[in-house]
Protein backbone atom coordinates (compact mmCIF):
# COMPACT_ATOMS: atom_id res chain seq x y z
CA UNK A 1 0.00 0.00 0.00
CA UNK A 2 1.16 3.49 -0.68
CA UNK A 3 1.56 6.23 1.85
CA UNK A 4 -1.31 8.23 0.42
CA UNK A 5 -4.02 5.82 1.49
CA UNK A 6 -2.71 5.16 4.98
CA UNK A 7 -5.26 6.42 7.46
CA UNK A 8 -2.52 7.58 9.79
CA UNK A 9 1.11 8.01 8.93
CA UNK A 10 3.47 9.20 11.65
CA UNK A 11 6.95 9.99 10.38
CA UNK A 12 10.04 10.41 12.46
CA UNK A 13 8.23 11.53 15.60
CA UNK A 14 10.35 12.72 18.50
CA UNK A 15 8.97 13.78 21.84
CA UNK A 16 11.30 15.23 24.45
CA UNK A 17 10.47 15.32 28.13
CA UNK A 18 12.85 16.89 30.64
CA UNK A 19 15.63 17.04 28.01
CA UNK A 20 15.41 13.26 27.44
CA UNK A 21 13.68 11.92 24.35
CA UNK A 22 10.69 9.83 25.38
CA UNK A 23 10.62 8.42 21.89
CA UNK A 24 12.77 9.30 18.95
CA UNK A 25 12.45 8.77 15.21
CA UNK A 26 9.21 6.88 15.65
CA UNK A 27 7.48 5.65 12.51
CA UNK A 28 3.99 4.25 12.41
CA UNK A 29 1.64 3.63 9.50
CA UNK A 30 -1.92 2.64 10.28
CA UNK A 31 -4.17 1.43 7.46
CA UNK A 32 -7.91 0.96 7.56
CA UNK A 33 -8.94 -2.29 9.16
CA UNK A 34 -5.89 -2.41 11.41
CA UNK A 35 -5.75 -2.51 15.18
CA UNK A 36 -2.49 -1.34 16.70
CA UNK A 37 -1.47 -2.22 20.21
CA UNK A 38 0.98 0.12 21.93
CA UNK A 39 2.88 -1.84 24.54
CA UNK A 40 5.71 -1.05 26.86
CA UNK A 41 6.45 -0.50 30.52
CA UNK A 42 4.94 2.36 32.55
CA UNK A 43 6.35 5.68 31.45
CA UNK A 44 7.39 4.37 28.05
CA UNK A 45 5.33 7.04 26.29
CA UNK A 46 2.16 5.20 25.30
CA UNK A 47 -0.18 7.92 26.54
CA UNK A 48 2.11 10.61 25.17
CA UNK A 49 2.09 9.05 21.71
CA UNK A 50 -1.71 8.78 21.73
CA UNK A 51 -2.06 12.41 22.82
CA UNK A 52 0.38 13.51 20.11
CA UNK A 53 -1.61 11.59 17.50
CA UNK A 54 -4.84 13.14 18.81
CA UNK A 55 -3.36 16.62 18.46
CA UNK A 56 -3.58 17.38 22.18
CA UNK A 57 0.18 17.53 22.57
CA UNK A 58 2.76 18.67 20.07
CA UNK A 59 5.67 16.44 19.08
CA UNK A 60 9.09 18.11 19.13
CA UNK A 61 9.80 16.99 15.61
CA UNK A 62 8.29 14.79 12.94
CA UNK A 63 5.17 14.84 10.84
CA UNK A 64 1.75 13.27 11.15
CA UNK A 65 -0.33 12.64 8.04
CA UNK A 66 -3.97 11.62 7.95
CA UNK A 67 -5.26 10.07 4.71
CA UNK A 68 -2.51 11.71 2.69
CA UNK A 69 -2.83 15.15 4.27
CA UNK A 70 -0.41 16.59 6.73
CA UNK A 71 -1.96 17.52 10.07
CA UNK A 72 -1.11 21.00 11.27
CA UNK A 73 -1.62 22.30 14.78
CA UNK A 74 -4.27 24.78 13.64
CA UNK A 75 -6.09 22.38 11.33
CA UNK A 76 -5.97 19.00 13.01
CA UNK A 77 -8.43 16.60 11.32
CA UNK A 78 -10.56 16.28 14.42
CA UNK A 79 -13.56 14.94 12.54
CA UNK A 80 -11.49 11.90 11.53
CA UNK A 81 -10.47 10.70 14.99
CA UNK A 82 -11.53 10.36 18.58
CA UNK A 83 -9.29 10.01 21.61
CA UNK A 84 -10.52 8.50 24.85
CA UNK A 85 -8.12 8.90 27.74
CA UNK A 86 -7.28 6.63 30.60
CA UNK A 87 -9.52 8.63 32.96
CA UNK A 88 -13.22 8.62 32.25
CA UNK A 89 -13.54 12.26 31.06
CA UNK A 90 -17.06 12.39 32.53
CA UNK A 91 -18.87 14.93 34.73
CA UNK A 92 -19.34 13.28 38.12
CA UNK A 93 -22.55 15.16 38.96
CA UNK A 94 -24.35 14.11 35.78
CA UNK A 95 -25.84 10.74 34.89
CA UNK A 96 -24.34 8.58 32.11
CA UNK A 97 -27.18 9.61 29.78
CA UNK A 98 -26.60 13.32 30.42
CA UNK A 99 -22.85 12.86 29.97
CA UNK A 100 -23.20 11.07 26.65
CA UNK A 101 -25.57 13.77 25.47
CA UNK A 102 -23.11 16.64 25.90
CA UNK A 103 -20.10 14.64 24.77
CA UNK A 104 -21.68 13.61 21.49
CA UNK A 105 -23.03 17.14 20.91
CA UNK A 106 -19.58 18.64 21.46
CA UNK A 107 -18.17 16.19 18.91
CA UNK A 108 -20.77 17.32 16.40
CA UNK A 109 -23.00 14.25 16.59
CA UNK A 110 -26.71 14.41 17.28
CA UNK A 111 -27.46 11.61 19.70
CA UNK A 112 -31.13 10.73 20.13
CA UNK A 113 -32.12 9.32 23.53
CA UNK A 114 -32.76 5.94 21.88
CA UNK A 115 -29.23 5.90 20.45
CA UNK A 116 -27.74 6.73 23.83
CA UNK A 117 -29.76 3.93 25.42
CA UNK A 118 -28.61 1.50 22.74
CA UNK A 119 -24.96 2.52 23.15
CA UNK A 120 -25.11 2.02 26.92
CA UNK A 121 -27.04 -1.23 26.47
CA UNK A 122 -24.41 -2.67 24.14
CA UNK A 123 -21.72 -2.20 26.79
CA UNK A 124 -24.01 -3.65 29.46
CA UNK A 125 -24.22 -0.25 31.17
CA UNK A 126 -27.94 0.47 30.86
CA UNK A 127 -28.97 -0.62 34.36
CA UNK A 128 -27.10 2.25 36.04
CA UNK A 129 -27.79 4.92 33.42
CA UNK A 130 -29.83 7.13 35.76
CA UNK A 131 -27.33 7.31 38.63
CA UNK A 132 -24.84 10.14 38.98
CA UNK A 133 -21.45 9.08 37.63
CA UNK A 134 -20.06 10.00 41.06
CA UNK A 135 -21.68 6.90 42.54
CA UNK A 136 -20.39 4.49 39.88
CA UNK A 137 -17.38 2.20 40.16
CA UNK A 138 -14.30 2.77 38.02
CA UNK A 139 -15.25 -0.11 35.73
CA UNK A 140 -18.79 1.21 35.31
CA UNK A 141 -17.41 4.66 34.46
CA UNK A 142 -15.13 3.09 31.89
CA UNK A 143 -18.10 1.42 30.22
CA UNK A 144 -19.95 4.73 30.05
CA UNK A 145 -16.87 6.52 28.67
CA UNK A 146 -16.39 3.86 25.98
CA UNK A 147 -20.05 4.15 24.91
CA UNK A 148 -19.04 7.42 23.24
CA UNK A 149 -17.42 5.36 20.48
CA UNK A 150 -20.83 4.22 19.24
CA UNK A 151 -22.35 7.69 19.24
CA UNK A 152 -19.57 9.62 17.56
CA UNK A 153 -18.73 8.33 14.11
CA UNK A 154 -14.93 8.49 13.68
CA UNK A 155 -12.65 6.39 11.49
CA UNK A 156 -9.65 6.38 13.78
CA UNK A 157 -10.00 5.51 17.44
CA UNK A 158 -7.16 6.41 19.79
CA UNK A 159 -7.81 4.58 23.05
CA UNK A 160 -5.65 4.87 26.14
CA UNK A 161 -6.01 1.73 28.26
CA UNK A 162 -9.49 0.83 27.02
CA UNK A 163 -9.48 -2.31 29.17
CA UNK A 164 -8.46 -0.63 32.44
CA UNK A 165 -10.71 -1.44 35.41
CA UNK A 166 -13.00 -3.65 33.33
CA UNK A 167 -14.05 -7.15 34.30
CA UNK A 168 -13.70 -10.04 31.90
CA UNK A 169 -17.10 -9.44 30.36
CA UNK A 170 -16.29 -5.76 29.82
CA UNK A 171 -12.98 -6.59 28.16
CA UNK A 172 -14.78 -8.95 25.77
CA UNK A 173 -17.31 -6.25 24.88
CA UNK A 174 -14.58 -3.69 24.14
CA UNK A 175 -12.66 -6.28 22.10
CA UNK A 176 -15.84 -6.85 20.11
CA UNK A 177 -16.19 -3.10 19.53
CA UNK A 178 -12.62 -2.83 18.27
CA UNK A 179 -12.99 -5.88 16.02
CA UNK A 180 -16.21 -4.59 14.51
CA UNK A 181 -14.80 -1.11 13.96
CA UNK A 182 -11.80 -2.52 12.10
CA UNK A 183 -14.03 -4.81 10.04
CA UNK A 184 -16.13 -1.80 9.06
CA UNK A 185 -13.20 0.11 7.61
CA UNK A 186 -12.02 1.92 10.73
CA UNK A 187 -8.74 1.65 12.55
CA UNK A 188 -7.82 1.58 16.22
CA UNK A 189 -4.63 2.47 18.05
CA UNK A 190 -4.78 1.50 21.69
CA UNK A 191 -2.53 0.91 24.64
CA UNK A 192 -2.88 -2.02 27.01
CA UNK A 193 -1.01 -4.10 29.52
CA UNK A 194 -1.11 -7.85 29.87
CA UNK A 195 -2.59 -10.31 27.48
CA UNK A 196 -5.58 -8.41 26.16
CA UNK A 197 -5.78 -8.59 22.41
CA UNK A 198 -8.27 -7.63 19.78
CA UNK A 199 -8.99 -10.59 17.59
CA UNK A 200 -8.38 -8.80 14.30
CA UNK A 201 -4.94 -8.83 12.74
CA UNK A 202 -3.06 -7.00 15.43
CA UNK A 203 0.05 -4.94 14.95
CA UNK A 204 2.18 -4.14 17.92
CA UNK A 205 4.40 -1.15 18.56
CA UNK A 206 6.74 -1.65 21.47
CA UNK A 207 7.75 1.55 23.16
CA UNK A 208 10.53 2.22 25.60
CA UNK A 209 13.10 -0.10 24.08
CA UNK A 210 15.72 2.50 23.15
Amino acid sequence: MTTANALLDARDLTFVRDFEPLFEGLHMRVHTGQAWLLSGPNGAGKTTLLKVLAGLWRADSGEIWFSGERAKANSWPREALIYLGHGAQLKADLTPIENLRWISAVHGAIAQPAQIDAALESLDAAHFDAQAVRSLSAGQRKRVAMSVLQLVDRRLWLLDEPYANLDRGGVALIEGLIDRHCANGGAVVFSAHGEQRARVALNELKLGLQ
Binding site: W57, R58, L94, G108
Partner: protein, 224 residues
Protein backbone atom coordinates in the same frame (compact mmCIF):
# COMPACT_ATOMS: atom_id res chain seq x y z
CA UNK B 1 -25.42 24.06 12.80
CA UNK B 2 -23.39 21.56 14.74
CA UNK B 3 -21.36 24.45 16.17
CA UNK B 4 -24.50 26.07 17.53
CA UNK B 5 -25.76 22.75 18.86
CA UNK B 6 -22.44 21.98 20.54
CA UNK B 7 -22.38 25.41 22.22
CA UNK B 8 -25.98 25.15 23.38
CA UNK B 9 -25.47 21.64 24.78
CA UNK B 10 -22.35 22.75 26.62
CA UNK B 11 -24.22 25.73 28.09
CA UNK B 12 -27.03 23.41 29.12
CA UNK B 13 -24.54 21.05 30.75
CA UNK B 14 -22.88 23.82 32.76
CA UNK B 15 -26.23 25.16 33.97
CA UNK B 16 -27.26 21.63 34.90
CA UNK B 17 -24.03 21.19 36.85
CA UNK B 18 -24.48 24.52 38.62
CA UNK B 19 -28.02 23.52 39.55
CA UNK B 20 -26.89 20.14 40.88
CA UNK B 21 -24.41 21.84 43.22
CA UNK B 22 -26.44 25.00 43.79
CA UNK B 23 -25.15 25.59 47.31
CA UNK B 24 -21.64 25.88 45.87
CA UNK B 25 -22.91 28.13 43.11
CA UNK B 26 -24.58 30.49 45.58
CA UNK B 27 -21.50 30.98 47.76
CA UNK B 28 -20.12 33.99 45.81
CA UNK B 29 -23.36 35.95 46.12
CA UNK B 30 -23.67 35.05 49.83
CA UNK B 31 -20.12 36.36 50.23
CA UNK B 32 -21.16 39.60 48.52
CA UNK B 33 -24.18 40.04 50.80
CA UNK B 34 -22.09 39.32 53.90
CA UNK B 35 -19.53 41.85 52.74
CA UNK B 36 -22.28 44.46 52.42
CA UNK B 37 -23.57 43.57 55.90
CA UNK B 38 -20.10 43.85 57.44
CA UNK B 39 -19.10 47.20 55.92
CA UNK B 40 -21.31 49.33 58.25
CA UNK B 41 -19.64 47.66 61.24
CA UNK B 42 -16.30 48.89 59.95
CA UNK B 43 -17.06 52.38 58.66
CA UNK B 44 -20.05 53.23 60.82
CA UNK B 45 -23.74 52.97 59.98
CA UNK B 46 -24.49 56.63 59.12
CA UNK B 47 -26.68 56.59 55.95
CA UNK B 48 -24.77 59.45 54.37
CA UNK B 49 -21.41 57.78 54.81
CA UNK B 50 -22.78 54.50 53.41
CA UNK B 51 -24.15 56.35 50.39
CA UNK B 52 -20.75 57.90 49.76
CA UNK B 53 -18.93 54.58 49.69
CA UNK B 54 -21.79 52.63 48.05
CA UNK B 55 -20.61 53.01 44.41
CA UNK B 56 -17.12 51.72 45.10
CA UNK B 57 -18.26 49.01 47.52
CA UNK B 58 -20.90 47.66 45.14
CA UNK B 59 -18.39 47.36 42.31
CA UNK B 60 -15.59 45.93 44.46
CA UNK B 61 -18.03 43.40 45.93
CA UNK B 62 -19.04 42.33 42.44
CA UNK B 63 -15.40 41.99 41.43
CA UNK B 64 -14.52 39.85 44.44
CA UNK B 65 -17.56 37.60 44.19
CA UNK B 66 -16.78 37.05 40.49
CA UNK B 67 -13.22 36.07 41.40
CA UNK B 68 -14.54 33.43 43.81
CA UNK B 69 -16.31 31.58 41.03
CA UNK B 70 -13.62 31.80 38.34
CA UNK B 71 -11.84 28.61 39.33
CA UNK B 72 -14.98 26.69 38.36
CA UNK B 73 -14.70 27.95 34.80
CA UNK B 74 -12.04 25.62 33.37
CA UNK B 75 -10.23 24.09 36.33
CA UNK B 76 -13.00 21.62 37.17
CA UNK B 77 -13.16 20.51 33.55
CA UNK B 78 -9.40 20.03 33.57
CA UNK B 79 -9.53 18.11 36.85
CA UNK B 80 -12.04 15.53 35.64
CA UNK B 81 -10.42 15.48 32.15
CA UNK B 82 -13.69 16.42 30.46
CA UNK B 83 -11.73 19.37 29.04
CA UNK B 84 -10.12 16.86 26.66
CA UNK B 85 -13.46 16.44 24.90
CA UNK B 86 -13.69 20.21 24.35
CA UNK B 87 -10.13 20.38 23.02
CA UNK B 88 -10.72 17.41 20.69
CA UNK B 89 -14.06 18.59 19.37
CA UNK B 90 -14.20 19.35 15.65
CA UNK B 91 -16.09 22.60 16.33
CA UNK B 92 -14.08 25.81 16.93
CA UNK B 93 -12.88 25.88 20.52
CA UNK B 94 -13.75 29.59 20.75
CA UNK B 95 -17.44 28.73 20.32
CA UNK B 96 -17.19 26.41 23.31
CA UNK B 97 -15.26 28.88 25.47
CA UNK B 98 -17.94 31.48 24.63
CA UNK B 99 -20.51 29.03 26.01
CA UNK B 100 -18.46 28.61 29.16
CA UNK B 101 -18.31 32.40 29.62
CA UNK B 102 -22.07 32.75 29.15
CA UNK B 103 -22.66 29.91 31.61
CA UNK B 104 -20.35 31.61 34.10
CA UNK B 105 -22.21 34.90 33.74
CA UNK B 106 -25.57 33.19 34.20
CA UNK B 107 -24.46 31.31 37.30
CA UNK B 108 -22.35 34.00 39.00
CA UNK B 109 -23.62 37.41 37.86
CA UNK B 110 -27.34 36.70 37.71
CA UNK B 111 -27.50 35.69 41.41
CA UNK B 112 -25.75 38.98 42.24
CA UNK B 113 -28.28 40.90 40.14
CA UNK B 114 -31.09 39.10 41.93
CA UNK B 115 -29.55 40.06 45.27
CA UNK B 116 -29.15 43.65 44.10
CA UNK B 117 -32.33 45.04 45.77
CA UNK B 118 -31.03 43.76 49.10
CA UNK B 119 -27.53 45.11 48.46
CA UNK B 120 -28.86 48.52 47.42
CA UNK B 121 -30.91 48.69 50.60
CA UNK B 122 -27.91 47.75 52.73
CA UNK B 123 -25.98 50.66 51.21
CA UNK B 124 -28.98 52.96 51.44
CA UNK B 125 -28.91 53.85 47.75
CA UNK B 126 -31.28 56.68 46.84
CA UNK B 127 -34.06 56.07 44.32
CA UNK B 128 -32.21 57.97 41.60
CA UNK B 129 -29.09 55.85 41.96
CA UNK B 130 -30.96 52.55 42.31
CA UNK B 131 -31.51 51.94 38.61
CA UNK B 132 -28.07 53.30 37.71
CA UNK B 133 -26.49 50.79 40.08
CA UNK B 134 -28.44 47.93 38.58
CA UNK B 135 -27.51 49.01 35.07
CA UNK B 136 -23.85 49.34 36.05
CA UNK B 137 -23.78 45.80 37.49
CA UNK B 138 -25.71 44.41 34.54
CA UNK B 139 -23.26 45.88 32.02
CA UNK B 140 -20.05 45.40 34.01
CA UNK B 141 -20.54 41.72 34.89
CA UNK B 142 -20.20 40.34 31.31
CA UNK B 143 -16.80 42.08 31.14
CA UNK B 144 -15.82 40.55 34.48
CA UNK B 145 -16.80 37.04 33.32
CA UNK B 146 -15.06 37.43 29.95
CA UNK B 147 -11.79 38.81 31.35
CA UNK B 148 -11.90 36.37 34.25
CA UNK B 149 -12.20 33.50 31.79
CA UNK B 150 -8.87 34.52 30.24
CA UNK B 151 -7.22 34.34 33.65
CA UNK B 152 -8.86 30.98 34.34
CA UNK B 153 -7.75 29.59 30.98
CA UNK B 154 -4.17 30.80 31.42
CA UNK B 155 -3.85 29.23 34.88
CA UNK B 156 -5.74 26.01 34.13
CA UNK B 157 -2.67 23.82 34.52
CA UNK B 158 -1.36 25.63 37.61
CA UNK B 159 -1.97 23.75 40.84
CA UNK B 160 -3.97 25.99 43.21
CA UNK B 161 -4.08 28.77 40.65
CA UNK B 162 -6.85 30.66 42.43
CA UNK B 163 -4.61 33.36 43.84
CA UNK B 164 -2.72 33.64 40.58
CA UNK B 165 -6.00 34.24 38.73
CA UNK B 166 -6.76 37.12 41.12
CA UNK B 167 -3.35 38.68 40.55
CA UNK B 168 -3.69 38.37 36.78
CA UNK B 169 -7.25 39.49 36.46
CA UNK B 170 -7.85 42.20 39.08
CA UNK B 171 -5.71 44.85 37.33
CA UNK B 172 -7.69 44.21 34.13
CA UNK B 173 -10.92 44.84 36.02
CA UNK B 174 -9.97 48.48 36.66
CA UNK B 175 -11.85 50.02 33.68
CA UNK B 176 -15.09 48.22 34.57
CA UNK B 177 -14.63 49.23 38.20
CA UNK B 178 -14.04 52.91 37.39
CA UNK B 179 -16.92 53.34 34.94
CA UNK B 180 -19.32 51.28 37.05
CA UNK B 181 -18.65 53.22 40.23
CA UNK B 182 -18.64 56.51 38.34
CA UNK B 183 -22.07 55.76 36.87
CA UNK B 184 -23.57 55.25 40.34
CA UNK B 185 -21.83 58.35 41.71
CA UNK B 186 -23.13 60.51 38.87
CA UNK B 187 -26.65 59.20 39.38
CA UNK B 188 -26.40 60.06 43.08
CA UNK B 189 -25.50 63.62 42.05
CA UNK B 190 -28.37 63.70 39.52
CA UNK B 191 -25.97 63.89 36.60
CA UNK B 192 -26.28 62.10 33.25
CA UNK B 193 -24.75 58.63 33.22
CA UNK B 194 -24.93 57.88 29.51
CA UNK B 195 -21.16 58.25 28.98
CA UNK B 196 -20.34 55.63 31.61
CA UNK B 197 -23.06 53.32 30.31
CA UNK B 198 -21.69 53.57 26.76
CA UNK B 199 -18.21 52.77 28.02
CA UNK B 200 -19.42 49.79 30.04
CA UNK B 201 -21.36 48.49 27.03
CA UNK B 202 -18.34 48.90 24.76
CA UNK B 203 -16.12 47.11 27.26
CA UNK B 204 -18.62 44.25 27.50
CA UNK B 205 -18.88 43.84 23.73
CA UNK B 206 -15.13 44.07 23.23
CA UNK B 207 -14.25 41.59 25.96
CA UNK B 208 -17.04 39.16 25.03
CA UNK B 209 -15.88 39.06 21.43
CA UNK B 210 -12.14 38.77 22.08
CA UNK B 211 -12.04 36.68 25.24
CA UNK B 212 -13.33 33.38 23.73
CA UNK B 213 -10.51 33.48 21.16
CA UNK B 214 -7.85 34.22 23.78
CA UNK B 215 -9.26 31.50 26.06
CA UNK B 216 -9.10 28.98 23.21
CA UNK B 217 -5.45 29.76 22.50
CA UNK B 218 -4.58 29.67 26.21
CA UNK B 219 -6.29 26.31 26.72
CA UNK B 220 -4.47 24.78 23.74
CA UNK B 221 -1.13 26.08 25.01
CA UNK B 222 -1.87 24.69 28.45
CA UNK B 223 -2.83 21.26 27.12
CA UNK B 224 0.80 20.28 26.95
Amino acid sequence: MSVLRASVELLRRDLQLAFRSRMDALQPVLFFVLLAVLVPFGVGPEPLRLQTIAPGMLMVGTLLSTLLSLDALFVRDADDLSLDHLLLAPVPLAALTFSKIVAHWLTSAVPCLLAYPLLATLFNLSDGAWSAGFLALLLATPTLSAIGAIGAALTVSVARGGTLIALLVLPLYVPALIFGASAIESAQANLAISAQIYFLSALALLSLSLSPLVCAVALRLNAR
